[in-house]
């Protein structure tokens, strides 16, 4: 069984037609990366999958259930962890309180384990979300999603705006989720590092899938990689904002 199957998604924001017949599969126990340039429709795809922006037509199946018309909380309750673009930490809540928001499904992940794996969060537990650095916020956003004990983890540009050393940490953590038995759907602009950890890959262009295959195969496609990497990844990877 696949963790997630999306077929023929057409999603609109008002009158603008953003996704055109998008289809993708996340195989169980594998990391699937969804790549594409700014504005290609990656975030919109993820929002369509988790119920935030339901597609007008098409179907989403998660662990065998048709979730196309599910509310976001019902999708999450099936075991889908979502790390949104820009992290979306609750700035007015402390780290500890941020970790109390998610639904806690039974499983290996608990607040204690999260603090063990992310010791920095344990040190900062009384600090408010807005006081954390970008890297700490990213750890918190991932930790928050892990408390759901997800079977499928969806991440939207987790390395965005982080310093190179921290970016490496983030990718190491994401790669580690596979060994936990999780299926992962990773949206990224950092093409090279994503392809290094991913098993499967999709490329989105103007709201349509233009590549579907293995990550290894895409890594060999130099022209496509160069087109993707264009003015992204390395350029902006240096400003670790301690907001």
């Amino acid at each position: 069984m696949s963790a997630l199957v999306a077929e023929g998604l057409n999603t609109f924001y008002g009158k603008s037609h953003i996704l055109h017949d998008v289809g993708l599969t996340v195989a169980e126990g594998r990391i699937t990366t969804l790549l594409g340039r700014n504005g290609a429709g990656k975030t919109t795809t993820l929002r369509s999958l988790v119920g935030l922006t339901p597609p007008r037509t098409g179907r989403v199946t998660i662990f065998g259930q048709d979730t196309t018309r599910f509310a976001p909380f019902a999708v999450a309750a099936l075991g889908v962890g979502y790390v949104p673009e820009g992290r979306r930490i609750f700035p007015n809540l402390t780290v500890e309180e941020n970790l109390r928001v998610p639904l806690e499904r039974p499983g290996n992940w608990s607040v204690a384990r999260v603090y063990e794996v992310f010791p920095r969060l344990a040190e900062r537990r009384q600090n408010r979300g807005r006081q954390l650095s970008g890297g700490e916020q990213e750890m918190l956003a991932i930790a928050r999603a892990l408390l759901l004990n997800p079977r499928l983890l969806i991440l939207d540009e987790p390395s965005q705006g982080l310093a190179p050393l921290i970016v490496r940490d983030v990718f190491r953590i994401v790669a580690g989720m596979r060994t936990e038995g999780m299926s992962v759907l990773l949206v990224e602009q950092n093409v090279r590092m994503s392809l290094e950890i991913a098993d499967d890959a999709y490329v989105l262009e103007n709201g349509a899938v233009v590549y579907a295959g293995t990550a290894a195969q895409l890594t060999g496609d130099e022209a496509r990689i160069r087109a993707l990497a264009g003015a992204t990844a390395e350029d902006w990877a240096f400003d670790e904002r301690a907001a």
Partner: protein, 289 residues
Amino acid sequence: MTELLLFNVTNGLIIGAFYVLMALGLSLILNLSGVINFAHGGFLALGGYIAFTMQPFIGFWGALLLAPVLVAVLGLLLERTMIRRLYGRDPLYSLLLTFGLAFILQDFTRYVWGANGLPFTVPAFLAAPISDQLFFVTWYRLFMVAVVAIAVGGLFLFLRYTRTGVRIRAGTLDLETVSVLGVNVGGLRAYNFALGIFLAGLAGVLASGQLSLVPNMGDSLLMPSFVAIIVGGVGSLPGTLLGGLLIGLASGLVTLFWPSAADAVIYVIMAIVLLLRPRGLLGEEGMLG
């Protein structure tokens, strides 16, 4: 003169306490659901009337506890059937619906209990003055302030320490992210609405022990409560608390020196605060945007 001053300060404190109860409920609902509930005063009156009707059977204390719960249940029903349809829509709809509900609630109480004032008796020891010197201050006045303090303290503890409370605070800033974390935000909003209405019902029971029960008894509290929210800063519950106490005390004190300005002073305070600090005393930047 000292006695007069003391009288007006306690008066201001009590008025402020009612503003606080009303405004906190309004704030909770506004923050999480984006609905300005013009029917809030109607729920307040209903709390008083229900307590009045139940008192012969379950006594003052039973009525004090149970009436707000019943009003909250009614609030929950109205939220599930009507209010929730407003979420995400133009604020104009919420204005129209809650304004209509305000009239319906008021006419309903008038129809059931009549338009004339009804007495709600409080236990004799509460109705007694505190001392011969302070003959103008009854124990009931202190009692009201104490109950409000307990309710407000309880509310803040709830929001700080329970999971539901934490989720309500999270949802105030980012409801969408709360929902993708597996929280049924429809349920959260319903619960939160009922909580706000509970506070209105409680205010109604307390008020009826001091004033007589009339169907429109909540009306005069509604506008000042909005002012309290704006003065304290939209989105901040501590701000609402501060705003309510501030304008209550101010109108109490101004009554002493210039009675006819007692109502105007709260709007003057609002104007000054908005001029100097547009987001309110404790408001977060960008909450109004």
